[in-house]
């Protein structure tokens, strides 16, 4: 074991071993699921109305959550990255808090804020809005848990973008909106795509906050994860098939979107 020499205990070998172990840890459960898939009856199981409904709800909810996250997450990331103010570090930590909420707690917290007896319950009732048990609640639950991923990705992107280009444009007399649309947004487009991929995938897999805040109603709030959980009781094959389907769709989303970031 000479230092600096090529021995078995090199950093490269150690890393390769550790990387393989972690990959195997990720892939083995997936392989386990795939090994259980009843391929012969797969098509029949998946074409049921409940599965299609749940898939549709998941796709729509995750997409809406991603759009909302982008619309409000970009400004938030911009403020966090480009403005300095007191309490910024605290704000940054607060933004990430939904990521560490146990999901069911997230659902209870959403009820405590937007439920009938929640902090804003009175205001919402006055406006004639009742969120729990609606599809809107499922979208909000998905947004709550997934938006931090987008803010995180965008803030990192903005931090690594070249400020000098923006400053040059400003010096040349470009208005802020023009700087934003011609310089800033294009320079962070890869972060936007990467962030959207993560946000979408996290939103599509959302379970705990949804079942707590939006309840479980087929065709209204029963997204794929909820339908899978319900299928676990009687129909393990169906549950496994639906899981594989959801994972497949999310994998495609991650692949399609991530490839554009890693190879700009």
């Amino acid at each position: 074991m000479k230092r600096g020499g090529r021995s078995f205990f090199s950093i490269e070998n150690a890393f390769a071993l550790q990387a393989t172990l972690l990959l195997a840890f990720f892939l083995l459960p997936l392989a386990g699921l795939l090994a259980r898939v009843p391929w012969a009856t797969a098509w029949e199981e998946l074409r049921g109305e409940r599965v299609l409904e749940a898939m549709r709800l998941s796709l729509v909810a995750a997409s809406l959550a991603s759009v909302i996250s982008l619309a409000f997450g970009f400004p938030l990331a911009w403020v966090l990255c480009r403005r300095s103010f007191r309490g910024k570090e605290l704000m940054r930590a607060l933004v990430l808090l939904p990521m560490v909420f146990p999901p069911v707690v997230g659902g209870v917290a959403l009820l405590a804020a937007f439920g009938t007896r929640g902090l804003l319950g009175g205001v919402l009732a006055y406006l004639g809005v009742r969120l729990p048990f609606t599809f809107a609640a499922a979208v909000l639950a998905a947004t709550f848990v997934s938006a931090p991923f987008l803010v995180l990705a965008l803030e990192a992107g903005l931090a690594s973008a070249d400020r000098r280009l923006e400053e040059a444009a400003e010096t040349l007399g470009a208005r802020p909106a023009r700087v934003l649309s011609t310089i800033t947004l294009p320079s962070v487009r890869h972060s936007i795509v990467a962030g959207l991929a993560l946000t979408w995938a996290r939103a599509a897999g959302e379970f705990g906050a949804t079942i707590t805040f939006a309840g479980n109603f087929p065709g209204r709030t029963q997204t794929m994860p909820l339908a899978i959980y319900e299928a676990l009781q009687t129909d393990m094959n169906g549950a496994i098939l639906m899981s594989v389907l959801l994972l497949g769709v999310s994998l495609v989303a991650l692949l399609v979107l991530r490839r554009r970031i890693v190879q700009p």
Binding site: M1, R3, S7, F9, S10, I11, A14, V108, L111, G115, T116, R117, P132, F133, I211, T212, G215, N216, F217, P218, T221, Y229, E230, L232, Q233, T234, M236
Partner: protein, 262 residues
């Protein structure tokens, strides 16, 4: 952050490996020393009662520590079918128990306790629910269990019996995955009413939830079943716990929590 390339050399890994090895050894040691503990997979509706039973059993001179895994019966049955190591299964209905008896995991199930269905309404009963048929009133937000979980299948049977399946079904806003979900939604005031077990009305701050008897449910048998798994009845502490549950202090504690004696 500064990096220290020298520290990352092979020598530095020795303490790492050593500590990992130590952790493995320690955890193996722990697993062995607690072999006398009992693992009980129990229906959520019996959670509080069984926690009290478990504490009391563990405190006894010939007791043993009891580890409870609480969830909806059908989830527990699925976990056990997937090979979860458990000594005892307590199901809120017969269907999930029969499922495990059929697959050979459970043997000798018996009725552990009786329960009954009630209506739960949040504090102040904002929708003015008095009886089951009030749940059919337009705009009432009703939560029930999903059909495959015990409380849901009992509720379905109840509504069919009362001839109100369609009328009340229209008002269902959520099919909860376990009775705990039903209670939670009522407790938080999100639902105007829910159908749950009589034993769910207790717990939590008094007055937060009110229960209303359902005359239509009279005569419906709502029974909780228990059975040892995978031949665990051969272990003395399992046998002692079963006896404790059936006629010992455990049975008395269950009765204190509102369960009927079989």
């Amino acid at each position: 952050m500064t990096t220290h390339p020298r520290r990352a050399g092979p020598r530095a890994q020795r303490p790492l490996f050593a500590s990992l090895l130590l952790v493995f050894l320690l955890s193996a040691g722990c697993a062995r020393s607690e072999r006398s503990e009992l693992v009980v997979f129990a229906a959520a509706s019996l959670g509080e009662a069984l926690e009290a039973v478990a504490d009391s059993f563990a405190a006894g001179s010939d007791g043993a520590p009891v580890v409870l895994n609480l969830a909806a019966s059908h989830i527990l049955a699925a976990q056990i079918e997937e090979g979860a190591p458990a000594d005892l299964f307590v199901s809120a209905d017969s269907a999930q128990m029969e499922r495990l008896v059929a697959s050979g995991r459970a043997r000798g199930p018996f009725v552990l306790a009786l329960n009954r269905l009630v209506l739960l309404v949040p504090r102040g009963n904002p929708a003015g629910i008095r009886r089951l048929s009030d749940l059919a009133r337009e705009g009432t937000r009703v939560v029930v269990g999903t059909e495959a979980c015990p409380v849901g299948s009992y509720t379905r049977a109840l509504l069919e019996r009362a001839g109100l399946s369609e009328e009340i079904g229209r008002n269902v806003v959520s099919y909860e995955e376990s009775v705990r979900g039903v209670v939670q939604k009522v407790r938080l005031g999100e639902a105007d009413a829910g159908v749950a077990y009589a034993t769910d009305a207790g717990g939590g701050p008094p007055g937060e939830i009110e229960s209303i008897e359902i005359p239509e449910a009279a005569g419906m048998r709502v029974a909780c079943f228990a059975a040892p798994l995978d031949g665990a009845e051969g272990r003395p502490e399992v046998r002692r716990f079963l006896g404790y549950l059936r006629e010992g202090e455990g049975a008395r504690i269950l009765a204190l929590h509102g369960f009927g004696r079989p």
